[in-house]
Amino acid sequence: MKFNDAILGAVFLALSIAVLVHIQGFPNIPGQKIGPGAFPGLIALILGGCSLALIWRGWRERASQPMVAVGAWLASPRHIRNFLVAIGALVFYILAADVLGFLICGAIILISLFLTLRVRPALAVPLALVLPVLIHVIFYKVLRVPLPWGVLPVLW
């Protein structure tokens, strides 16, 4: 997905204005002329300037550079699906990890990605069951990361 530079420039300009407005509420360091707003303010000002230059460049090239150019993959339903399943896997983990636990979430994520990428089910299912256990053992037992157990009882 390729946007015209003017559109991205406008997004960054909005960001820099938001930062400049937001830092107005920051206090100065007591007894000093300077405060926590100075540095982000300076950065936001430069970002604003660069955004204007980007907008100008995008506008000048608007004949050759369309406002939104759709990448080749967006014309292929299979690749859009691949992309969405990967994003969905992360969102699913964020929402479900504490309830279901790492092992179940990991298996669901792997099986859905494997099948989306057309791995043979005879290979995908055993891998999706074994790999999360392997990763769990490395991180939970060896590195002592408290990965959530969720609905499963504490097994090791």
């Binding site: 997905m1 390729k2 946007f3 960054f12 960001l15 930062v19 937001h22 830092i23 920051f26 206090p27 360091i29 000093q32 002329k33 300077i34 405060g35 926590p36 100075a38 540095f39 982000p40 950065i43 936001a44 970002l47 660069c50 955004s51 230059a53 980007l54 460049r57 990448g71 080749a72 993959w73 292929s76 690749h79 691949n82 992309f83 399943v85 990967a86 994003i87 896997a89 992360l90 983990y93 964020i94 990890a97 790492f102 990991g106 994520i109 792997l110 990605l113 494997f114 990428l117 057309r118 791995v119 290979l123 790999l131 999360p132 990763i135 991180f139 590195l143 990361v145 408290p146 990965l147």
Partner: protein, 499 residues
């Protein structure tokens, strides 16, 4: 100094450290071999594990893994015509042409042997140069440090980017991200929007895993390339004839190694640019430039050495100033801070054994590259046929665990999602990602020196240029900053003045 080296040697020869080095070497070779996985990604994936190690093995893991990955990128280049990492892209066509001529073993052997020699050259420069530079840097005050950071950032933006404007914007986004949280000279919570998670700032590790690993996985998900096909499965003795090549191309080897080291030192440009530039120089200085592109080993010798020597070069500014020479050292600096080994000249005075241990790891990594690389080439056929459809989902799960492990909350997973998507969109639109990472790594240091200097001088901006070293650094920065503007003006108006 010898006593310190003995101490450092003892640190390295620990069985635990040696095991870490061996495993990270194998990991680096595997990642480098698989097209679409870069050395930077390998580092980003290693960091959550190094998080749980003492400083020396943590750094050893990164150094070894990257050296191996940069070499291993040559393997699919020669056999599949797809570079394993961007650092091998410069001579992939050449290596593939050699394979087609039945000389796969020469291409791979040259890649391996001269990678190791280049790596050792860069290491030698680092061993001599870094402590000497640290001696000078000890005299620096906040003003000089401010300029050093600005100079590093300017270099990152202006060198090797197609669009300077977009690289600058990427850098500024990084600097703004560094502002989030409580960790600023005033201790005031900025841009946290009442979130307890954001008060601690945006953790560097999940952000890097997102920008370098998750974005790469997303790119794989939408890639439309045809499946990979091996060009040959017969590889002879890779070491035959290497001695003759060494004698024949000794000057090219030296030139490539030296150029690679210099490009590595230069902030923001790393192994891939070192390879492209040396390949071009090799062709320019060659006695038989017409043979380049037809399966001629000369370019591989020179640029294969250059990309590995740049790795060591990049560590010089990283250790002495805390300024990353490439995106790998940007990650490594984050690790050094987490381990309490804040980079800077005082590190050379207070903890010299750790620094020397890093030097020794570089030597060791480049030496074990030869046998392990030989092994990797032997099993390459098997590794390259491992389906990426299986590897990529597994890496995604690994990213999830790794980002969770840093603070033990799913907030880390949210960060890899957000930054993975951000990096994906930015790169699709021609914004380089590396400057953003440099901005995040250096933002805090830059702000601290800026605020301290402003308070010391009581708001007087001229104090930034009145100390002699500060003034020269300022001049250097402005030369880099205004070089493109100057050349543009010259091209536009200079011609007219002559009449």
């Amino acid at each position: 100094m010898l006593a310190t080296y003995a101490q450092a040697f003892a640190l390295i020869m620990d069985p635990y450290v040696l095991t870490v080095i061996l495993f990270s070497a194998l990991f680096g070779l595997f990642v480098g071999c698989i097209p679409g996985l870069t050395a930077t990604m390998a580092t980003a994936l290693l960091v959550p594990i190094t998080f749980f190690m003492p400083p020396v093995p943590a750094i050893a893991a990164i150094v070894t893994c990257t050296a191996m990955a940069i070499f291993a990128g040559d393997i699919p280049g020669a056999l599949l015509r797809i570079p394993g990492t961007p650092a091998s892209a410069a001579y992939t066509d050449e290596a593939y042409a050699m394979t087609r001529k039945g000389q796969a073993e020469v291409a791979l052997g040259a890649g391996l042997v001269f990678s190791a020699i280049g790596g050792l050259f860069g290491t030698a420069v680092m061993i001599v140069g870094a402590p000497a530079l640290a001696d000078i840097a000890l005299r620096f005050s906040d003003y000089e440090y401010f300029w050093i950071v600005v100079l590093g950032l300017a270099g990152a933006v202006f060198i090797g980017n197609a669009s300077i404007l977009k690289a600058t914007i990427s850098l500024l986004l990084g600097l703004l991200i560094a502002c989030v949280g409580l960790d600023n000279p005033a201790g005031f919570p900025r841009f946290t929007f009442g979130s307890a998670e954001l008060t601690g700032g945006i953790s560097l590790i999940p952000m890097m895993v997102g920008m370098f690993a998750v974005s790469e996985i997303l790119r794989f998900m939408v890639h439309l390339d045809p499946p990979l096909r091996l060009a040959t499965d017969r590889i002879g003795n890779i070491f035959r004839g290497m001695g003759a090549l060494l004698v024949k191309y000794k000057w090219g080897l030296l030139r490539g190694s030296a150029l690679g080291t210099v490009i590595g030192i230069q902030p923001g440009s790393g192994a891939d640019m070192a390879a492209w530039m040396s390949y071009a120089t090799a062709k320019k200085f060659s006695k038989e430039p017409e043979k380049f592109g037809t399966g001629h080993v000369e370019g591989i010798v020179e640029s294969g050495a250059a990309n590995n020597s740049s790795l060591a070069g990049a560590w010089i500014p990283a250790l002495v100033f805390g300024i990353p020479g490439d995106s790998i050292t940007a990650i490594a600096i984050g690790v050094l801070y987490i381990k309490g080994l804040n980079p800077g000249p005082s590190l050379f005075v207070n903890n010299p054994q750790n620094i020397y241990a890093i030097f020794l790891v570089f030597i060791l990594a480049n030496l074990i590259m030869i046998p392990l690389g030989w092994l990797a080439i032997k099993v390459a056929k098997r590794v390259l046929t491992v389906s990426r459809n299986i590897v990529m989902p597994t890496i995604l799960l690994f990213c999830i665990v790794g980002s969770f492990a840093i603070n033990n909350t799913v907030f880390g997973v949210l960060l890899i999602l957000v930054f993975g998507l951000l990096a994906f969109v930015l790169e699709e639109n021609g914004f380089p990602v590396a400057p953003a990472i440099l901005g995040v790594v250096l933002g805090q240091m830059m702000e601290e020196n800026f605020i301290k200097s402003m308070i010391k001088s009581d708001g007087d901006v001229t104090a930034f240029v009145t100390r002699p070293i500060a003034m020269w650094l300022a001049i250097a920065t402005f030369v880099i900053l205004f070089w493109p503007v100057g050349t543009w003006l010259w091209r536009r108006f200079g011609v007219r003045f002559r009449y």
